[in-house]
């Protein structure tokens, strides 16, 4: 085929790996993909739920996974797990079968089955666990989960734990992690355009506009940002009362030459930016800045991250107490020249803010790559540190559990029923996946033990107990698939350090088809 009129066609089609991952690279870019490819995941089970989770991590390309599980495939396993080959897998090591079939999904992922080591022997081995990025468990007996959680909580650099529990239509999961900084949170709140606190070049440019002297075409293509700042310079002070705000909006429209000038309509619609303060996000001022010298001091968070956050705090301590300018500009009605000119101004300010920012970085942590600094500044308005608590801490505080039952009875009842059924199954000595009966009385006894004395149990608890005793050990294919998706999403967010993971227990009720959060 010849494509005429374009002598130098750039052949820039991406390589096959980029093409394979195209639909996810649009979410977490190559920076997220690299972290994913460097990750090593340990899963302490090869149940249907565990393989569903792993499937959704192998497909996008984690580096490595290990399944540690000494179970032998049962008839029931062969019926509900897609990563076993029906009757032909029965009697074989379940983890080995699962690893073989999961690894088929992606040639660039390595998998290993550890079938000779009992789970009980690794849950206290920080040395073994620290070889991994993330540990995932499914229906681990509570005593083992507690030991595992204690081991991982004891060291600030130990991997995060994703503890999953399910019975029938009910499920929950909890992420235990040390302070987890997120630079690219992909917040939907855009960075400030600094219309209220224009930086000098922007202020100068806007004030000097001679709107009335422009020709009609130019006039209809001045972006709304300088229009607003210019209009502000025409009134004595920031509009405060409703009357002043209305008068300001009328003033903007009065600057029009012609009725159909959309740029002035945009300015009119965006007028609130003139009197809305450019406040710093509380995720920085409350959750991060006050704690940098205490609970967020290294090694709680990595030294480089601490240095960047410290520089950001110092930057915002200076007048006019704003974040560095972000170079991104939304689209707005404008001519190409005026838009590009404005964009240039933001970029120049971004660069000079970046230099200032760099001068504020404490010297200790060593070399910080320039592109990391850029990414950090671009996303400064969304930077978060996700601070967690230990798995089970919520449940040890009867008052918190009691309050949760009042505030969200449905979700808390499901949570209590799941905690109780795990306890009951461990007490009965039933192995994972095998059929076992648990009585409503026993579940109720465990639930009562987790609540303040004399708590009224209520209808939701009864429903949850009824449902959990119906199918205490059922790992239903649909619930497993649902958890496979939800847990993998959270795992990906933790590994890529992008987007915001969920705190507390995430409760899933597949009868009402709803999710909720308990113990945040």
């Amino acid at each position: 085929m010849s494509l005429t009129e374009s002598p130098e066609i750039i052949s820039a089609q991406p390589d096959s790996k980029t093409r394979r991952y195209d639909r996810q690279l649009r979410l977490w870019a190559s920076s997220g993909q690299t972290l994913l490819e460097e990750s090593r995941i340990l899963v302490l089970s090869s149940s249907a739920t565990s393989t569903s989770i792993l499937k959704n991590l192998v497909l996008p390309g984690i580096g490595h996974f290990t399944i540690l599980d000494d179970a032998i495939t049962s008839a029931a396993d062969a019926g509900n797990n897609f990563f076993l080959e029906g009757p032909s897998s029965i009697g074989k090591r379940r983890a080995s079968e699962a690893v073989r079939l999961l690894a088929e999904l992606n040639d660039s992922v390595t998998g290993e089955a550890v079938t000779s080591t009992p789970v009980a022997s690794v849950v206290s081995s920080l040395n073994f666990l620290s070889k991994f990025t993330l540990i995932i468990t499914h229906n681990l007996p509570p005593s083992q989960l507690q030991t595992l959680s204690d081991t991982l909580w004891s060291s600030p650099t130990a991997p995060a734990l994703l503890a999953v529990s399910s019975s029938g239509f009910f499920a929950e999961f909890f992420i235990q992690h040390h302070p987890h900084p997120i630079i690219e949170s992909h917040t939907e709140t855009p960075p400030s355009l600094r219309i209220r606190d224009p930086f000098p070049a922007l202020l100068e440019h806007s004030k000097s506009l001679k709107l009335s002297e422009l020709d009609p075409t130019e006039h209809a293509h001045i972006p709304y940002i300088p229009i607003l700042i210019h209009a502000r310079s025409l009134v004595p002070h920031d509009p405060k009362t409703q009357e002043e705000k209305n008068a300001f909006k009328t003033l903007i429209l009065s600057l029009k030459f012609k009725q159909d000038e959309e740029n002035f309509d945009e300015a009119h619609a965006q007028a609130y930016r003139v009197w809305t303060p450019t406040s710093l996000p509380s995720s920085l001022t409350q959750d991060i800045f006050p704690h940098l010298d205490t609970k967020l001091a290294p090694p709680a968070i990595p030294g480089i991250m601490h240095a960047l956050l410290t520089a950001l705090r110092r930057f915002t301590e200076r007048e006019p107490h704003v974040l560095p300018v972000s170079p991104g500009l939304p689209d707005m009605k404008a001519s190409t020249e005026t838009y590009i000119h404005l964009q240039r101004m933001y970029k120049d300010q971004f660069n000079s803010d970046k230099e200032m920012f760099k001068s504020l970085i404490p010297p200790n942590p060593g070399e910080i790559p320039d592109d990391l600094i850029e990414t950090f500044i671009r996303n400064a308005h969304g930077v978060q540190v996700f601070v967690g608590e230990q798995w089970g801490a919520f449940d040890k505080d009867v008052n918190r559990v009691g309050e949760a039952l009042v505030v969200s009875p449905k979700d808390t009842s499901v949570h209590l029923a799941l905690r109780a059924v795990r306890e009951a199954l461990e007490n009965s000595g039933a192995s994972e996946g095998a059929s076992a009966n648990v009585s409503a009385e026993e579940i109720k006894m465990h639930i009562v033990g987790m609540l303040p004395p004399d708590t009224e149990l209520g209808e939701e608890i009864d429903k949850a107990i009824g449902e959990i005793t119906r199918s205490p050990t059922a790992d239903l294919p649909n619930t497993a698939a649902m958890l496979g998706g939800l847990v993998a999403q959270e795992a990906i967010k933790m590994i890529t350090r992008q987007y915001v993971p969920q705190g507390g227990y995430c409760i899933v009720d597949c009868i009402d088809m709803r999710t909720g959060i308990v113990g945040l």
Binding site: A76, N80, P87
Partner: protein, 428 residues
């Protein structure tokens, strides 16, 4: 292995131990209609027939879930072939399958992996099939990325309902995803809100005004649109642009890059070019897994009555924590598909037929392309055939009020829609 006896014989003892915990006993919220034990198992495993529309991101997941749950007679329709960019989530496909029909490869994989399940693929369009075909199923699950195909199957299933025949009501379970977000819903045609009832919930596709593209480009997207919308037809005349052809994307990328340089606009990349011209929606395995599981779980609950089913909409946003919202979407009385009442439209007496057509095209709750308008025996404007278009074209400039009395009924049709829209026009 054909026939239900042959299928049932493949069930090894203990195969359904997990699911049978649910099917052997009712729960506290289970309806009295539930036939615990053999009755429900026989229906699920030997009688139920289910149709899956789409064998892509959602479809692969749906097929696997249904097979493990015990649905044994599954049909799947998909008109696409496998592309390398599917492999990050469509887990029934391998690199060697690229270029093969999705429906066929998916069906074969499921039958190999889950013994005793019959999956019947159809490599083609849903529109190829008639009412009789759709009548044979108990349930339909849809995992599509096309609004048009969903509107078609929704309207078809609503039209299939015969109040005299309970069997004609086919529950439609619909799922959709975008990045970390998705939704699943249960539609009981004519009883609950249908797909058409909720059209206004869809995000409006970003459309760039042609004058911006031509005269005042500001974003890299404007340069790409210029290359594809204006330059391609100018340079290549009648040759159709194929967005799956990397040479075509290369051409667009080159032309867009040159324009961006000319205007000092940064950010045109190959990937962005491809994304804009193909309208690519980010997609990952995990979100598809959540939504497909929600769909299949509803199918299981409806088919077995083992637990209450979703009423009727589940929405998930996974970008900031796990946020979901479950609610009842309301049926619209003036829904053109299931409502029965005509849509009230009040217009100025000066509005011309052409302006009315523009208004209809713009309306978010209708989303109609190239509508034809008639009223009783009056043909107001017909898009096709060409002779009738020519005859009715002069009406475009006429005022609607000259052609129709107030309260007049207008029937709107479009080739993309399997139903007629009825408007009741009044004048302001």
């Amino acid at each position: 292995m054909a026939g239900s006896n042959g299928i049932a014989s493949q069930d090894w003892a203990g195969r359904y131990d997990h699911i049978d915990q649910i099917l052997n006993t009712p729960g506290p919220r289970t309806s009295p209609a539930f036939m615990a034990g053999d009755g429900v198992k026989d229906f699920l495993r030997n009688q139920a027939k289910i149709l899956v529309i789409g064998a892509g991101g959602l479809g692969c997941e749906i097929l696997a879930n249904l097979a493990l749950t015990g649905f044994k007679d599954i049909h799947v329709i998909d008109m696409d072939t496998i592309d390398i960019s599917n492999l990050n989530r469509q887990f029934l496909f391998r690199p060697k399958d690229v270029g093969q029909p999705k429906a066929t490869v998916a069906a074969e994989f499921i039958m190999k992996r889950v013994p005793g399940i019959k999956v019947t693929p159809y490599f083609g369009k849903i529109q190829d099939k008639d009412d009789e075909y759709y009548m044979q199923f108990n349930l339909v699950i849809c995992g599509l990325d096309s609004v048009e195909a969903r509107r078609w199957i929704n309207a078809t299933l609503v039209n299939l309902v015969d109040p005299e025949n309970l069997e004609s009501l086919k529950p439609l379970i619909d799922g959709g995803t975008e990045g970390f977000k998705g939704q699943a819903r249960v539609i009981l045609p004519t009883i609950t809100s249908c797909y058409e009832c909720s059209l206004d919930m869809l995000n409006k596709p970003t459309a760039f005004p042609i004058c911006t593209i031509a005269n005042t480009p500001r974003l890299p997207e404007h340069c790409i649109e210029w290359a594809s919308v204006l330059e391609w037809p100018r340079v290549h005349r009648d040759k159709k642009m194929d967005t799956d052809d990397p040479d075509h994307i290369n051409w667009l990328y080159t032309v867009a890059s040159a324009r961006a340089r000319e205007f000092k606009i940064e950010g045109v990349t190959w990937s962005l070019t491809q994304g804009v011209v193909k309208n690519i929606i980010p997609a990952i395995a995990s979100t598809n897994a959540i939504i497909a599981a929600a769909c299949c779980n509803e199918a299981f609950k409806i088919a077995t009555s083992s637990a209450a089913f979703l009423n009727n909409y589940f929405m998930l946003i996974g970008t900031e924590g796990v946020y979901s919202y479950t609610f009842e979407h309301e049926k619209r009385d003036d829904c053109p598909v299931c409502g029965g009442e005509s849509l009230e439209m009040s217009i100025g007496p000066e509005i011309t037929v052409e302006e009315l057509i523009d208004m209809l095209t713009e309306k978010q709750d209708i989303q109609i392309k190239k509508p034809s308008l008639s009223s009783g025996s009056i043909q107001i404007y017909l898009q096709a055939p060409p002779q009738l278009e020519a005859i009715t074209r002069p009406n475009l400039q006429k005022k609607v009020s000259e052609l129709l009395p107030t309260g007049g009924e207008v029937t709107v049709t479009a080739s993309t829609l399997p139903f007629n829209l009825s408007l009741n026009i009044t004048y302001k």
